[in-house]
Amino acid sequence: MGGPSCYIKFGTIMFILSALMLIVSGCPQISRVTQFTWFCPAQVQLQIFGFFAMIMFGAIYHLLPRIMGFELPFPKFVRAHFWISIFGVLLFVVPLAVGGIEQGLKLHDPAIGIAGVTRATLPFLRVSTTGQLLLLLGSLMFAANIFVMTFKWKLALLKTAFAAVIAPLETSEVKS
């Protein structure tokens, strides 16, 4: 569990979820509550980090070793990155969406001042930030894999080029 194909599966599920969120927030009765709240950023972030980024991670982890011709330098990071991303995305988006709904309900009560409404969302935003930090950690793992790999690949290219330069000439090419 946790290979590149898992990224694609998770990304697809998140795409369906974010599309459902978009459809739901398009219904007038529901958008009365969710509009102008953190629910909309939650939907956008789910689409970006849950769907697009996950599919891209999966594709890159799958394609890169095949293009460059050798294995990833830290294969264990692929699995770790997957689980960190799942928890990161869920921790990032779920509190935002729930906090958004609560914010929307409170915005509809004129007795609660706007400062009170915003303060009520702060705990949700803090949890959400934890999720963002997890995503950052996962992205650092991804970057480590990609940068080390690119460096190795360039080094290999250089070595090949250097070897070709210093190789002794074939006798057939030497002018007599």
Partner: protein, 272 residues
């Protein structure tokens, strides 16, 4: 590619249709918008912002104010109050009729019916229209936002998140430039519970020279810099404050009618 032309045509039609819906239709509808006439008045709305207010929009944009503030008020609908202005020749009959009727929070049709009854009894009445909705009860405006509010704004700063209050008529709610500047410098010095970040970098804290600067803010002690220093707004802060003071979506328009409480307040004499 097999069927390349068909794929191209299908994509062209799909994208073209959405372009027509999202770009062409709005431009045809509102592209030629001009200043609108204020209802029951010779005024026009909106007045073209001048000087600092024009530049202030760019400061508003640069500081990302629209990330947390909207400039669009929503309303659920309108209700009417019928107000008796003259009892006419038969005051006793009219007053007994009026006391038997509901005069407040009526729909338009009900208000018309009530007004009709009063007229038949010989009295005279006025119908006052007012907008209803959560935003209105929060005091964020007197009517819903309309396209005319943004006539001179480019780019339009609608906003999509309310981490802070709506600003469509902040110039009416807080018409003092000093309040605006102080709120930008230290939000919690004027609204206690505010979560707004401080925009201190729009101000210069400097040593008082021979005489204090005429622009210097009167900052409460808790938020003030050390003795001998003063807080002076930079041009950016002044422009932003001028822009905010210019946000005055409080006049009745054809597409958003209501009865203003007194004479329209958009006259230049009322601008502070």
């Amino acid at each position: 590619v097999k069927n390349g032309a068909a794929v191209f045509l299908a994509a062209f039609i799909a994208l073209g249709a959405s372009w027509c819906g999202f770009v062409l239709a709005p431009v045809l509808q509102l592209g030629g918008a001009k200043q609108a006439a204020v209802l029951n008045s010779s005024d026009i709305y909106p007045l073209q912002p001048v000087g600092d207010a024009t530049l202030g929009l760019q400061v508003y944009r640069a500081e990302g104010c629209a990330a947390c503030h909207t400039e669009q008020v929503q309303q659920d609908g309108v209700l009417c109050d019928v107000v008796l202005t003259s009892p006419g020749k038969n005051p006793a009959a009219v007053s007994s009729l009026v006391s038997s009727l509901t005069l407040q929070n009526l729909t338009k049709d009900a208000a018309d019916a009530v007004a009709n009854q009063i007229t038949l009894a010989g009295g005279k009445s006025e119908t006052h229209v007012f907008a209803t909705g959560t935003d209105i009860s929060r005091g964020w405006g007197v009517r819903h936002g309309v396209a005319a509010d943004f006539l001179y704004d480019y780019p339009v700063q609608l906003g999509s998140l309310r981490a802070g209050p709506d600003l469509s008529d902040i110039g009416v709610r807080a018409p003092a430039v000093n309040w605006q500047l102080l709120h930008l410098y230290a939000p919690r010095s004027v609204t206690k519970n505010s979560t707004m970040p401080s925009f201190k970098f729009l101000f210069e804290v400097r040593k008082i020279g021979d005489a204090p600067s005429p622009d210097a803010l009167n900052v409460p002690k808790e938020f003030a810099p050390d003795d001998g220093y003063e807080v002076v707004p930079t041009p950016g802060a002044k422009q932003l404050a001028a822009y905010l003071l210019g946000l005055r979506a409080n006049v009745p328009l054809y597409e958003a009618p209501f009865t203003p409480p007194e004479v329209p307040t958009n006259s230049p004499a009322d601008k502070k």
